[in-house]
């Protein structure tokens, strides 16, 4: 059980590193120029949406991992 918790911690850490990398790759170079003064608002809105999607995916993967790592313990 204790190793399961350490494994889960390590998995969360790995997901943070990978998710962060995806965020930098996807959102870092992203910019919009053709909408005048509003370009940064539109670009930020799109960045927010992509970031939220990434967070949702992150939580879904984490839930699956949790069920896999703790499948024995979670039969409460």
């Amino acid at each position: 059980m204790k190793f399961g918790l350490y494994g889960f911690l390590f998995a969360m850490w790995s997901l943070i590193i990978i998710g962060g990398g995806m965020m930098v790759i996807l959102l870092g170079p992203f910019s919009i120029q053709q909408y005048g003064d509003f370009h940064w608002i539109i670009a930020s809105g799109i960045k927010v949406s992509v970031a939220l999607i990434l967070v949702v995916i992150w939580i879904l993967i984490l839930s699956k991992l949790k069920n896999y790592i703790f499948k024995k313990e979670l039969k409460f």
Binding site: M1, K2, G4, L5, Y6, F8, L9, F10, M12, W13, I16, I17, G20, G21, M23, V24, I25, L27, G28, W40, I41, S44, G45, K47, V48, A51, L62, S63, K66, F70, K72, E73, L74, F76
Partner: protein, 330 residues
């Protein structure tokens, strides 16, 4: 360098001493006024003074004001205001039972000074991959971060000494990471949090003489979150806090809504005849970190606390590795 060492030493000594010397009289006053709660994990009816947040916030304010006299940083002002506001929110909750919405919403408001004082950098730094500029998203992150760190620390305040002991590990880890990244001023500003937690742990460890209460736990969490933002180490701070994050994640994913602990019907943990802690089989009860730890068999309160501390040390090591990885670019 001496310009940094002297304020660091003075503030750390003050942070530790204020808690160390003000907590015993505070316990006496709280007991005299009957501000006590039952320690649910003791066989006998043991009443424990609460809230210890008063000595915690006093030490934080004193040590940070001393640091401000040396550095005149807006970041210190942001830390003082946000932490004090979080303490006040927790104190209201200690005195009066508030709804589940109260703490998240008011803690989000408590985060506003960080924005108004401009003490943040909207570049979010990730290890290996570099920074990403997210101006609008970052404002949302500030608003969410303080309620999350505050409630996360509050949610692990379930056993004697766990919240303060875990805070010692997480906050010193954060300070070490700030030093590794060369952010020396904020590293020094963060040190009092570790020393306040350490001094409070002396009275909070098993058998507790005082509980931090929501006021203490929220002050700890809010200060930790504010340091993470003003120091630009949000990701590292989240990693150092992972065991507590797991607890919140397990709780939320089993309950599936934001709810106060007292509103939960099922009991995740019960006691054996020799008063060890044991995971229940109640399907209505939330899954928590303590319940998962106890899934392997009954343990004493002290043993469960040490398992949480070991997890804290492990995630602290991952945070330090991450700090070193910040300097590496793929």
């Amino acid at each position: 360098m001496i310009d940094l060492i002297i304020p660091a030493i003075i503030s750390c000594i003050l942070a530790f001493s204020v808690v160390y010397f003000t907590t015993p009289p505070l316990i006496k006053i709280l007991v005299k006024k009957n501000y006590t709660v039952k320690d649910m994990n003791k066989k006998q009816d043991v009443m424990v003074a609460r809230p210890g947040g008063i000595s915690i916030i006093l030490a934080i304010i004193v040590s940070e004001i001393i640091l401000y006299s040396f550095f005149q940083l807006n970041e210190i002002i942001a830390i003082i205001i946000t932490t004090t506001a979080a303490f006040a929110i927790g104190y209201v909750d200690d005195r009066k039972v508030m709804g589940g919405w109260f703490k998240p919403v008011t803690l989000a408001v408590a985060a506003l000074p960080i924005i108004f004082l401009g003490t943040y950098d909207s570049n979010l730094a990730f290890p290996l991959f570099g920074d990403v500029q997210i101006p609008l998203l970052y404002l949302g992150l500030i608003i969410f971060m303080i309620p999350i760190t505050g409630n996360t620390i509050n949610s692990i305040d379930v056993l004697n000494g766990v919240a303060s002991g875990f805070m010692v590990i997480a906050s010193f880890t954060l300070s070490i990471c700030l030093f590794i990244l060369g952010n020396y001023e904020i590293a020094i500003v963060s040190l009092p949090l570790g020393f306040v937690s350490l001094a409070f742990y002396k009275y909070h460890k098993i058998p507790s003489k005082i509980f931090p209460g929501d006021s203490g736990a929220l002050a700890f969490g809010a200060m930790y979150g504010t340091i993470a933002i003003v120091g630009g180490v949000e990701i590292i701070a989240a990693i150092a806090l992972l065991p507590a994050v797991i607890n919140s994640f397990l709780f939320l994913s089993s309950v599936k809504r934001v709810v106060e602990h007292r509103q939960i019907k099922g009991k995740p943990v019960e006691h054996t005849d020799d008063f060890k802690l044991k995971a229940t089989t109640d399907k209505k009860a939330p899954v928590t970190l303590v319940r998962l730890i106890l899934a392997g068999g009954p343990l004493t309160e002290k043993q469960v606390g040490f398992v949480i501390f070991k997890l804290g040390i492990f995630s602290g090591m991952l945070a330090i590795i991450t700090a070193f990885m910040m300097g590496v670019s793929l």
